[in-house]
């Protein structure tokens, strides 16, 4: 049993990667995720692993491609502008059916934006991000402990489905320090790595590729990928429901805003308001069905996010026009306050009362 240590989210992710058997990390400096590469530069030599500070995000993600093609667990991390640069490589990983873990500790954009926390890369993360019809599994932790736990899950999912898996955090989660316990990943399944490039001794050559010039070959790949995505949506969707069973009003939020809302829910419950929180843990696949089911009893919804409104589009896809969906978004460059969420809730609740 590992002992409890005090780490920031970025460090917890890095240690969790080590504990998941990841021995290859390639990164390029960008705030607010620099603790990951600093931790890896210190830690990798201790476990006979490889750390390279790459010359660019492009180089880093392609080093990931190379190591992944040899069948080893590998990770890279960056923040929003850097993740945009990695998108080409992520698309190639998806097309070549190669596993990898990619961390995005989001900062505010567009463009260079600034280093304040943000959730404005939701569209990019959940819709594929690069070119082509592909998805990455997107995991969204809401605490340092969960950042570590989901990192371990990310490696397993990447191997299980042979695809890139993204961890999506806002900058505050990367920086925030909390006590955390990071055990070694207990492997419960074995993964077929017969596709890996290892030298063709005793077998036919393996090729890592996403180029398919034959008329039928590319549609075949795409159909295989789409079937897999449907399967993942069935098997891997994850969501936390906090006091939603009897809720009249449900907040939908992830990451740091979800944590803020959890505090608010306890406070409002004490005042007799039936308030609940639905927190998607997988942003893709999104928990459409679970959200839709809450509409059996919930009257109204509030989406709270650190963007101009991206998560809300998935909430609308789940609920359609069946219920009022309110929105509280704080846009890039500004911090979110608990008091402003409370004010928003007060006005919603007052109007709900008026309608009753």
């Amino acid at each position: 049993m590992a002992k409890k240590v005090l780490l920031c989210g970025n460090e917890a992710i890095a240690e969790a990667a080590i504990q998941s058997g990841c021995r290859y990390y390639y990164g390029y400096p960008i705030t607010p995720q620099n603790e990951i590469s600093a931790y890896m530069a210190y830690r990798m030599p201790q476990v006979d692993g490889t750390f390279i500070q790459a010359e660019s995000e492009l180089a880093a993600i392609n080093m990931v491609y190379g190591t992944s093609a040899t069948g080893k667990r590998v990770m890279t991390s960056s923040s929003s502008p850097g993740i945009s640069l990695k998108q080409e490589g992520i698309s190639y990983l998806a097309g070549s059916e190669l596993p990898a873990v990619i961390i995005n500790v989001m900062r505010a954009g567009p463009g260079l934006g600034n280093i304040t926390p943000s959730q404005a890369d939701y569209f990019q993360a959940t819709r594929g991000g690069g070119h082509g019809d592909y998805r990455t599994i997107v995991l969204a932790p809401a605490s340092v402990q969960e950042s570590a736990d989901l990192t371990k899950r990310a490696f397993v999912l990447a191997d299980r489905y042979r695809m890139p898996v993204m961890m999506l955090l806002d900058g505050m989660q990367g920086q925030m320090r909390e006590p955390v316990v990071i055990d070694e990943l207990k492997e419960t399944e074995s993964f077929d790595k017969s596709w890996a490039l290892t030298g063709c001794k005793g077998r036919k050559p393996n090729i890592a590729r996403s180029l398919y010039l034959d008329v039928d070959a590319l549609p075949d790949l795409n159909e295989r990928l789409q079937k897999q995505y449907a399967d993942i949506a069935k098997r891997e969707t994850d969501v936390e429901l906090y006091k939603t069973d009897d809720a009249d009003l449900i907040i939908v939020a992830y990451g740091t805003p979800a944590r803020m809302c959890r505090t608010i829910i306890d406070k409002f419950r004490k005042q007799g308001v039936k308030l609940g929180l639905l927190r998607p843990i997988t942003l893709w696949p999104f928990p459409y069905d679970v959200l839709e089911k809450t509409a059996d009893h919930a009257q109204e919804y509030l989406v709270v996010e650190w963007s101009a409104g991206q998560l809300i589009e998935d909430v609308r896809l789940a609920l359609g026009k069946s219920k009022p969906i309110h929105f509280h978004g704080v846009i890039g460059g500004r911090l979110m306050k608990i008091s402003e969420i409370e004010t928003k809730l007060d006005s919603i609740i007052a109007n709900m009362g008026a309608r009753i």
């Binding site: 392609n62 190591t67 040899t70 030298g199």
Partner: protein, 243 residues
């Protein structure tokens, strides 16, 4: 009399290269050398984006593709994972010296223990004959219809000069494929580079001037003459670094 057979390492596929292209010869040289070294089962190659994009259809061992220009980064990721395998990239002039210049320079400076085979034909072939970083001064291409003007777009980039001063670069050579004699010389460079990698010495590159009759708008024979009379003045042959 010598009988030439297809080495085990070369698939018996009909290549997609144009008539008179140098890629077929260079593929064969790389394949022959790896065969002769007995390394087919430990070789891992990285194909570029460009004319040689489907080199893995012709070479019968483990291969990876790479996004345009990123082959040295992909090869880095492979070699760091499997240090005892023979890892090389096969890249053209646009891939290596335009879009992939950063990856080349940094892989070389780190002294990644990989080998780069650089097919330099002074032109973008796959996309229809545009100017490459190595297009000669005055050379006409689709995008230099009046000839390359060095005042406007600079002179051709010499990859060997670019890398020569990095301490961790241990082997640099340039060959041509214009006659059996030159082909055998180029083959020796390829062998030396791969042996240096086997010894774990560091980064090696063999540049090969590859004829492109199609986009040089020449007959294959004239393309060979063009290399011997003109191209080697800009890109001379020989071993430029050996540590």
């Amino acid at each position: 009399m010598t009988t030439y057979t297809v080495p085990e390492i070369l698939n018996e596929a009909r290549t997609h290269y144009c008539a008179g292209c140098g890629h077929g010869i260079l593929h064969r040289l790389v394949a022959e050398v790896i065969d002769e070294m007995g390394q087919r089962e430990s070789a891992i190659g990285v194909a570029p984006v460009g004319c040689a994009v489907i080199a893995y259809e012709y070479l019968n061992f483990d291969m990876s593709e790479a996004a345009h220009g990123r082959a040295p980064a992909v090869a880095t990721g492979i070699k760091r994972s499997l240090p005892d395998r023979l890892v090389f990239t096969y890249q053209g002039d646009g891939d290596l010296l335009a879009i992939g210049c950063t990856e080349l320079v940094h892989a070389a400076n780190r002294g990644e223990n990989i080998t780069i085979f650089f097919a330099n034909n002074n032109v973008y072939g796959m996309t229809g004959g545009q100017m490459a970083p190595t297009t000669l001064d005055g050379q006409k291409t689709l995008t230099t219809p009046y000839g390359r003007d060095p005042k406007d777009v600079g002179h051709p980039i010499d990859a060997i000069k670019l890398l020569q001063n990095f301490d961790n670069v241990v082997y640099l050579a340039r060959g041509i494929l214009t006659s059996p004699k030159e082909i055998m010389k180029t083959k020796r460079y390829i062998r030396q580079a791969l042996e240096i990698q086997q010894q774990g010495k560091g980064f090696s590159m063999v540049e090969v001037i590859s004829q492109c009759p199609t986009y040089w708008r020449m007959t294959p024979v004239n393309a060979l003459k063009h290399i011997e009379e003109t191209v080697i003045n800009q890109f001379p042959t020989g071993i430029f670094k050996e540590l």
